[in-house]
């Protein structure tokens, strides 16, 4: 047990949360390594949460240079010119995050996203698997919040595939917040855990579809009451991909284009267009900047999910989470094909 025990410092600092999830879970957290890609407001919140929770390490990837644009929803960036001048988002956030918990190793992965992406998409050599595996195997969880490049779906698919190829299970999450809406996706592959119910210990198992499998589930196969936000996000996402836009780079001028795409997708999927209301699409088109309260909410839920998956304690959600400040609901949708439907 020696060396395995939490130190006196850890016990004192983590007292209140050890009372929530126990010392074992805390130990597992302290050994975990998290990769985070794309540092907007929601992910900043998430990083704060897991650093406070006491994970082993957090590796940040985002080589975009800090601008005034990045300031609004990200409290890790201190708006003094000399604090961020010339630095990347990852570097600036790294400095701030370290302060929250000196026991967590916070570092910047200097491989620029474009390079990562290039490798992942298949550079000239076409054989990217070696690099990919080594890179991701170090981690227990990977969180992707899309930034540039306009190939959001493909990017997310490929990283997810890398995670799934490893013999070690790497948890995979994506997150995106636009205006009053937020979406989160989880893939824990084949997840086994135990929990106590009354006096018994129950063994549980959940099978997750991959990102690609999930978004390929035909819309007509989904339950009737699936959140409209799911469909709306898929429409917007495809629109941005097709038009080569960065995520969030839309406006009301795109309205007709989006409605047209909606029509096509609904026809292909035999879904009634009324399932994706105009008003919702318009909101997602125009209200694209992150809204700090929503960042806090989604960052919180994401934090909880990663902590659960790493500690092996608590029922993880499967597999999408949506929040819309308009109706105030935070709901879970199970978007799975027949083989992985719960």
């Amino acid at each position: 047990m020696d060396g395995e025990e939490l130190t006196e410092q850890e016990t004192a600092l983590y007292d209140r949360q050890i009372r929530v999830w126990g010392a074992d879970a805390q130990r597992r957290l302290s050994k975990s390594h998290i990769l985070v890609c794309g540092l907007k407001g929601t992910v900043a919140e998430f990083c704060k949460n897991i650093v406070l929770a006491g994970v082993g390490s957090v590796t940040l990837v985002d080589d975009r240079v800090v601008t005034d644009e990045s300031l609004p929803a990200n409290f890790l960036i201190l708006p003094h010119e000399n604090h961020y001048n010339g630095k990347t988002l990852a570097e600036v956030c790294c400095d701030s995050l370290k302060e929250f918990n000196p026991m967590v190793h916070v570092a910047v992965e200097t491989v620029p996203l474009q390079v990562v992406n290039l490798f992942l998409l298949g550079g000239p050599a076409g054989d990217i698997s070696t690099f990919g595996v080594e890179f991701f195997e170090k981690f227990d969880a990977v969180i992707i919040s899309c930034c540039s490049l306009g190939k959001k779906v493909l990017f997310q698919k490929l990283i997810n595939q890398k995670c799934r190829k490893l013999s070690k299970r790497v948890a995979f999450y994506t997150v995106e917040c636009r205006g009053s809406c937020g979406e989160m996706f989880v893939d824990l592959q084949d997840y086994k855990y135990s929990k106590k119910k009354l006096e018994e210990t129950i063994e549980c198992q959940i099978e997750y579809p991959s990102f690609e499998e999930a978004i390929s589930v035909p819309w007509r196969a989904l339950p009737r009451r699936v959140s409209k936000l799911y469909f709306a996000m898929r429409v917007i996402e495809q629109f941005e991909d097709v038009e080569g836009r960065n995520p969030g780079e839309t406006s009301i001028a795109d309205r007709l284009g989006v409605l047209k795409l909606r029509k096509e997708l609904c026809e292909t999927n035999s879904l009634d267009e009324s399932q994706i209301p105009d008003a919702l699409l318009e909101r997602l088109l125009t209200d694209t900047r992150e809204f700090p309260p929503v960042c806090a909410i989604i960052g919180g839920i994401l934090g909880q999910e990663v902590i659960k998956a790493i500690s092996g304690k608590g029922d993880p959600l499967k597999n999408f989470f949506f929040f819309d400040a308009m109706d105030g609901k935070g709901l879970i949708e199970d978007i799975s094909g027949p083989s992985t439907r719960s």
Binding site: R16, V20, G54, K196, L198, G299, G328, L331
Partner: protein, 647 residues
């Protein structure tokens, strides 16, 4: 991002935050990021190490400093051009209605019921909207309160902290928490606390043999008595002798497992000599620890009976040796390591005696100290929800206010569950000014009891003024005249019927708290007899909606109030680890609908707050006017409230 109108409303707004702790830090950060520019924040606490796992604006170097001030400094680092005014003060102190009136909205991030009630009353008096919130572990909630439009914070009952019957604590414990209460409120208090305090230790219903004078001697350390001797003597008395006395009453044990007496010579045969070399290394009085002395390193370990006994004796010895000056005026403090060790050990030995499972120091500390488990993520989520409601309030978006519940396990796919607020409770004595009724023996009950047990304890008034008609029977204040003070002091000792303005059956008393600007009337009804078991106070207050009480509740020993961000409906001290099952039903209970939702107010039907039959079980409620398909079923657990509500 917020719309233009929202942004300008936000920019102009003046916001008051009460509490700079778990929720407060997250809230202040989110408010600042959302564009708020004039924020005031009140918090009386200073920063502790255990805060740092979630109150992320604070650092190790800030321990001991004011939360409000440090939070402000931290947020100004990333929003230097906004105004944040900190107050390192108790919200229940100098902030009156005029102060509250200056704000557009008040946001609570408090950790105790008293302060919440106080702020509620001030917001009502000032006519300012209040957004309330609370978290415990993974659970949280946000509620919105607008005078006249929605329930106030006190319209729905808030459970009082759990209490236990005296006999359970003194004679028949069945759970570990009972042993903790015994160890903390009885034994620790007896040995180290105020000697003049009444103490139920040694009280047995059938115990006529021991005179109280004899008992008094037992706990005093005799002149020239060796501390080792003394420790063993106390040990043998409470764990050996007292148990034997209890056993002699056959009746008690008819249907219960009998405890076994434990004597120190059987557990620790050899005398405690100077084996404990460690503690002599000149440590400061504060750092004194039996665990260190005995090389017990891990607070998560469950000690054996032998180890617990060693800790008991060693802790007692260290108190007398190193902290003599404290003895006689100590109250239990969860941050007092030696006190925690002593209480853990004592509780465990007692538990051992009664066949109750032993617990680690970590667990015992949590129970004894009413520690609420807390994580950053829940606070962050709740803070986001608070800001969303605050913005609606600023825009007077009356139709869209929500109460939101953050669940640990989804209910119908929802982890965040919004519910429409309810209209005010017509019987709420706080916001609807309904008179209360009190049954009391006016010839026996003293004014002092009335003030302590009813006015302060139940009604939550800190600075009461009590009048009958134009006569003031009692008041508290700084600028009272000498002779009035004398009169009031004398009044306290008089029976109600003997007051200068006699209080008898049919009297109507008006009680006010000037600071809260809250007043209510109480109709007095004389009653001769009261059931000692069921009505130990000798008084019965009705019209005051109280949460369902423990059915064993006769002459309870109060446990300390929970000092936490706890959801009111979650405040229990059971120390049970398995709360998974309870949780969802408790949350559902917390918003069990007894009144109409705001959206139904326009209907003509008269409200019937006392009629269970008027509410259907499992009546589907519409939440989302946009979408016919979205329904939320709330099961109305009307029964559990009406049963206990005295009408």
């Amino acid at each position: 991002m917020a719309s233009q109108e929202q942004l300008s409303a936000i920019k102009r707004a003046k916001v008051l935050m009460v509490g700079a702790g778990g929720i407060g830090c997250e809230l202040l950060k989110t408010l600042a990021l959302s564009g708020f520019q004039d924020i005031h924040i009140i918090d009386m606490d200073t920063i502790e190490v255990s805060n740092l796992n979630r109150q992320f604006l604070f650092r190790q170097s800030h321990v001991g400093q004011s939360k409000a001030k440090v939070a402000r400094d931290a947020v100004l680092r990333f929003r230097p051009n906004i105004s944040i005014t900190p107050y390192h003060a108790n919200v229940e102190s100098r902030f009156n209605v005029d102060f509250f009136k200056e704000f557009d909205v008040v946001l609570n991030g408090l950790d105790n019921l008293d302060a919440r009630r106080h702020v509620n009353r001030l917001c009502l008096a000032a006519g300012i909207p209040l957004v309330e919130s609370g978290t415990t572990g993974f659970l949280g909630q946000v509620t919105v309160h607008l005078k006249g439009k929605t329930e106030c914070y006190e319209c729905q009952p808030k459970p009082a902290p759990k209490t236990y019957p005296v006999c359970t604590i003194t004679s028949t414990p069945s759970k570990f928490v009972h042993c903790i209460v015994w160890a903390k409120d009885l034994l620790f208090a007896k040995l180290f606390g105020d000697k003049n305090q009444e103490n139920d230790l040694n009280v047995h219903s059938s115990d006529t043999a021991n005179s109280s004078e004899h008992s008094e001697d037992v706990f005093e350390c005799r002149k020239d008595e060796d501390i080792e001797r003394y420790g063993r003597r106390i040990y043998d008395h409470v764990f050996g002798h007292n148990i034997e006395v209890a056993l002699s009453n056959e009746e008690t044990w008819k249907n219960r497992n009998k405890p076994r007496p434990i004597y120190s010579k059987d557990v620790l045969p050899e005398e405690q000599t100077k084996e404990n070399g460690n503690e002599e290394k000149g440590c400061a009085a504060d750092d004194v620890s039996a665990m260190v002395s005995l090389s017990l390193k891990n607070p998560q370990d469950i000690w054996s009976l032998v180890e617990n006994s060693r800790v008991f004796l060693e802790a007692l010895r260290l108190f007398f040796l190193k902290r003599e000056k404290d003895i006689g005026n100590l109250t239990f403090d969860k941050d007092d390591q030696l006190a925690v060790e002593f209480v853990t050990a004592a509780a465990n030995i007692r538990a051992s005696s009664f066949g109750i499972p032993l617990h680690s120091l970590f667990e015992a500390k949590g129970i004894a100290g009413n520690i609420v488990h807390a994580v950053a993520t829940t606070n962050a989520i709740i803070a986001g929800l608070i800001v969303i409601e605050a913005i609606k309030v600023l825009q007077k978006d009356n139709n869209n206010y929500r109460m939101t519940y953050c669940l640990e396990h989804p209910s119908r796919k929802l982890l965040l569950m919004p519910v429409e607020p309810y209209e005010p409770n017509r019987s709420c004595y706080v916001c609807s000014e309904t008179p209360l009724s009190l049954e009391v023996n006016t010839q026996r009950c003293k004014l002092r009891d009335f003030v302590e047990k009813i006015i302060k304890a139940k009604l939550g008034m800190n600075f009461p003024l009590i009048m009958q008609g134009a006569s003031i029977l009692y008041e508290v204040g700084e600028d009272l005249e000498e002779d009035m003070v004398v009169i009031y002091a004398a009044n306290l000792e008089k029976a109600l019927s003997e007051l200068p303005s006699p209080v008898t059956s049919g009297s109507v008393l008006t009680v006010e708290d000037l600071q809260q600007e809250f007043s209510c009337s109480i109709n007095i009804k004389h009653r001769e007899e009261f059931d000692e078991e069921k009505e130990p106070d000798g008084m019965l207050l009705s019209g005051w909606v109280e949460a369902p009480v423990d059915k064993d509740n006769n002459k309870p020993i109060g446990n300390d109030e929970s000092t936490s961000n706890a959801l009111p409906s979650m405040e229990t001290l059971d120390g049970d680890k398995d709360d998974e099952i309870q949780e969802t039903s408790e949350v559902v209970e917390a918003f069990a609908g007894k009144k109409r939702k705001l959206s139904e107010v326009s209907e003509v039907t008269a409200p019937d707050p006392s009629g269970p039959s008027s509410i259907n079980q499992n009546k589907p409620e519409k939440l989302d006017i946009d979408d016919e398909d979205d329904e939320l079923i709330i099961s109305d657990d009307w029964e559990s409230f009406t049963k206990k509500k005295k009408l």
